[in-house]
Symmetry: C2
Subunit: 206 residues, 2 copies
Amino acid sequence: MKKTQPERGRPRAFDRDVALRRAMEVFWAQGYEGASVGDLTAAMGIERPSLYGAFGCKEALFREAVELYGREESGATGRALAREPTARAAVAAMLRDNAAVYVEPGKPPGCLVVLAALVGTPESAPVRQALAERRARVRAAIAARVRQGMAEGDVSRDADPDAIAAFYGTVLHGLSLQARDGMAKEDLLAICEAAMAAWDPLAAPS
Amino acid sequence: MKKTQPERGRPRAFDRDVALRRAMEVFWAQGYEGASVGDLTAAMGIERPSLYGAFGCKEALFREAVELYGREESGATGRALAREPTARAAVAAMLRDNAAVYVEPGKPPGCLVVLAALVGTPESAPVRQALAERRARVRAAIAARVRQGMAEGDVSRDADPDAIAAFYGTVLHGLSLQARDGMAKEDLLAICEAAMAAWDPLAAPS
DNA sequence: GGAGAAACATACCGATTGGTACATAAAGGA
DNA sequence: TCCTTTATGTACCAATCGGTATGTTTCTCC
């Protein structure tokens, strides 16, 4: 998978993966526009030209950081939706596990995809759109899981999977705001529980 | 109320209130750090020194803009919480009316208090905190309305007003994200309806 | 042991950031 | 009429923004 063929010139003096992870943490904490190239190089332990040589430009670095985040830090959603036996358990686990992840010590609270580029200058619109598409994919995944539940009989045939997904996606995204505002884990979990109180009226089979 | 005593020097050549409103719209659309002083003066129709003379600095202008927003653009929440006869109707109206306001044509979608300063450089931390406090006040107002419902008998005595407020506050804030992502009004309203499906399990008197 | 290729650090680029000095203009008070 | 006060437009400030040119170092290939 990782092709590290013997390279020609001078070998890179830093670990690209580690540097990318440091960059991700800066973007995660300060957002795309709030993270200056100086902030990034300082956290990555490299000089400017090394950053541009290895990643191209700030936006490309950010996109790689978002992919790394999706790969390593946001697995809870997909895991919950895939592994739980019913749609209800899947959504409940998705909320609960994300709430826990959003306040892990040593990491910026909340989700990078939600927080890193919500508003800003017109120049960064492509970056904002890229994150918006990732958020839309989460909503689509929830809707798909609800549809699966309808097919398997644990969700009412009269349920509206898109509306249910929009609601639980909204709660999920809202959790990132609360986490960034400093809310404690138990309060986030109480929000998840409260949101699940809507499940039966919305989706329970008759 | 408006003290316009005859002033001494040269009179201001622009309408301060109108200029502040234009600044508010820029902050609302682009956020605090995403709005440059050049963007602001262009929208306000004035030159830099006039801005600094009338408002002090960028941060002071932002704080005035936030107050103007609270006074003129975010009345739906307080109105709904104050006027509706039951806690349930109050929360439902709060969500519904805000959802409608969040997608009003000609205005930036979503709430300035939620969107304008979520992440950024360490220098703007005071601004972010000011908005976080405003968000906390909304949650406190919801909790107070639920407590009022408990006192008046339309909310169960076993209900947890802080948990209920945290949940509906999360949904309210999440609506701003969805609105900024371009969600249509009817879909936002469907989210509000879904959220209200949790009311009876959470708060209905036994 | 070159020769070529790639990464390194320093030092720089023009553009933009928030914020001002300064001279001028327009008002009220004496 | 003159003086004080305040606002205005131009032109500017140092600092920072994202991004590079350049000369040197360190590697592989022949």
